[in-house]
């Protein structure tokens, strides 16, 4: 096993374990903190793919900003394990069954996707994810969606002000 492989498996295990902990944790604050660990593991994957910009932006935006706001809200509302509504056993069963079905579909999908087996990810090489190439793609090929997304952000901003203003 090469270093990259070892790192890959470590990060994957970490991501999966933390993701499960997000769901299992009784305390919402713990869930948020585990989610941050997930983001770190995903960012690690990005670095392995040589997409450094994505990796760090993932951390800055998700772990650094959005999750802080999450923590904010959870701390202010003082949510804890007692505040969690008790769900009916049938609801839980339904969730487990539908989730299980979906998992089965996805697993069988990965097993049967023979056309994907020949393809491998570019690990540690390839420079598509570097900021220079990303910038070029964003301002040439993807300039229309880039500009149009400004409408999206504008409407979100208008919304924030409409809701936030007294």
């Amino acid at each position: 096993m090469s270093t990259i492989q070892i790192l890959f498996f470590f990060l994957t295990a970490l991501a999966l374990f933390s993701a499960i902990m997000v769901l299992v944790s009784k305390n919402p604050v713990h869930s948020v903190l585990w989610l941050i660990v997930v983001f770190f593991a995903i960012s690690g994957h990005y670095v392995l793919l040589n997409a450094q910009f994505l990796a760090i932006v993932n951390l800055i935006v998700y772990a650094g900003a959005i999750m802080v706001l999450f923590l904010f809200v959870i701390m202010l509302m003082n949510l804890n394990s007692e505040a969690e509504p008790r769900k009916h056993i049938w609801m839980k069963m339904a969730g487990v069954i539908s989730g299980g079905c979906f998992l089965m579909v996805l697993v069988s999908l990965v097993r049967q996707a023979t056309d994907m087996q020949q393809r491998t990810a570019l690990m540690g090489s390839g420079n598509v994810g570097l900021i220079k190439n990303l910038g070029k793609a964003l301002f040439s090929d993807y300039v229309v969606p880039f500009e149009i997304s400004s409408v999206l952000f504008l409407s979100a901003m208008v919304g924030a002000i409409v809701i936030g203003k007294k």
């Binding site: 450094q52 760090i56 951390l59």
Partner: protein, 350 residues
């Protein structure tokens, strides 16, 4: 020296560098606490600490010893794991910044060319940004885990303050990046060092001002030390902490100060550049030593300014702080960005 496909020489080199930088930073931070008390004393016309050692020079060790020897109290109702995690996170986040700071050019030793930078990644500034945004968690987790309303309020204040000022900080940085065309701190410094190149402060005075104010806010220094406002919040987010865990929080603040000074020096004041001196004519090792000295001098000057501000300017009120951040800093940074872009366009002759 390659074994198991790993260049052990590089590994050892980097480990030594990390150790030197981390312990160096901690050492400087140690004496910064001392400097703070001395500066405060000078500004308030009193002698300051002068008992431990000559001129009180051993005072920081005495302080450290005191913190370590004190009884460790973890409140019963606190969240134990997070309570311990908080100061650790604060300290880690503070120290991690040093990884991308170019302390000087390279030295040649044992036939190897050793770069005096732990990692020259091509997203250097963004990395710093990411780490800084992680620093909030130290405060928030510590404040929440204490299970004390004052701690929680202070932590929330600290976090909202940090997020608000991060925005303006990032926007002011964009103007610098537009000039340099690179995110790597090393490249930015080298561009300022090049013959005929001026320090970025000459092009970006407004950008620097914004960055400096935001750095003050990020480090929770006066006039932005709202999280520790003792008249409103007793002692702030580390109210329940004692012993070395408290020490870590206090210490992290000083490490943060050093790191933000170093970043400011690199971005706006030529990093390890000595003005009016052509480093390329000197032997590399000598140039490196001069470079480190130059960078440290700049850092010390910045730290002094930090302290000077602390002991002269009163604290903001919370709404003033938010108004300044959102209604002054961010628009100013946007204007700065616009002007820089226009100037670059004009210079390019389009």
């Amino acid at each position: 020296m390659t074994l198991l496909a790993i260049d052990w020489g590089l590994l050892i080199e980097k480990l030594v560098l990390i150790a030197v930088v981390v312990f160096g930073s901690l050492g400087i931070a140690l004496y910064t606490t001392f400097a703070e008390r001395k500066v405060a004393a000078v500004l308030q016309d009193r002698p300051g600490p002068n008992r431990a050692g000559p001129f009180g020079l051993l005072q920081p060790f005495a302080d450290g010893l005191k913190l370590i020897m004190k009884e460790e109290i973890i409140p019963n109702t606190s969240n134990r794991v997070l309570f311990i995690l908080g100061p650790g996170l604060a300290m880690t986040a503070a120290l991690m910044t040093c990884a991308v700071i170019p302390w000087s050019s390279h030295v040649e030793m044992f036939g190897r060319k050793i770069e005096l930078q732990i990692a020259d990644i091509n997203i250097g500034i963004l990395y710093i940004f990411g780490v800084v945004s992680m620093g909030v968690y130290g405060i928030m987790i510590g404040g929440w885990a204490s299970n004390n309303k004052f701690s929680l309020m202070a932590a929330l204040r600290g976090a909202s303050q940090a997020i608000s000022y991060e925005l303006a900080m990032g926007l002011s940085l964009i103007a610098v990046l537009m000039l340099s065309g690179s995110l790597s701190l090393k490249t930015i410094v080298e561009e300022q060092m090049a013959q005929g190149g001026l320090w970025n402060i000459a092009y970006q005075p407004l950008g620097f001002l914004i960055f400096f104010v935001c750095a003050l806010a990020e480090c929770n220094r006066t006039p932005f030390d709202l999280p520790e406002a003792e008249n409103e919040l007793n002692f702030g987010y580390h109210q329940e902490y004692s012993s070395m865990k408290l020490g870590f929080y206090l210490f992290a603040e000083y490490v943060n100060m050093i790191m933000s000074s170093a970043v400011m020096a690199c971005l706006f004041f030529g990093g390890y550049d000595v003005p009016f001196l052509d480093e390329s004519t000197l032997a590399p090792n000598i140039a490196a030593i001069i470079g480190v000295a130059a960078l440290l001098t700049k850092i010390v000057i910045f730290i002094f300014v930090f302290m000077w501000i602390r002991w002269t300017i009163p604290r903001f009120r919370y709404d003033q702080l938010m108004n300044l951040g959102w209604k002054t800093m961010i628009p100013l940074a946007l204007v700065n960005m616009l002007i820089t872009g226009a100037a670059i366009l004009w210079k390019a002759g389009v």
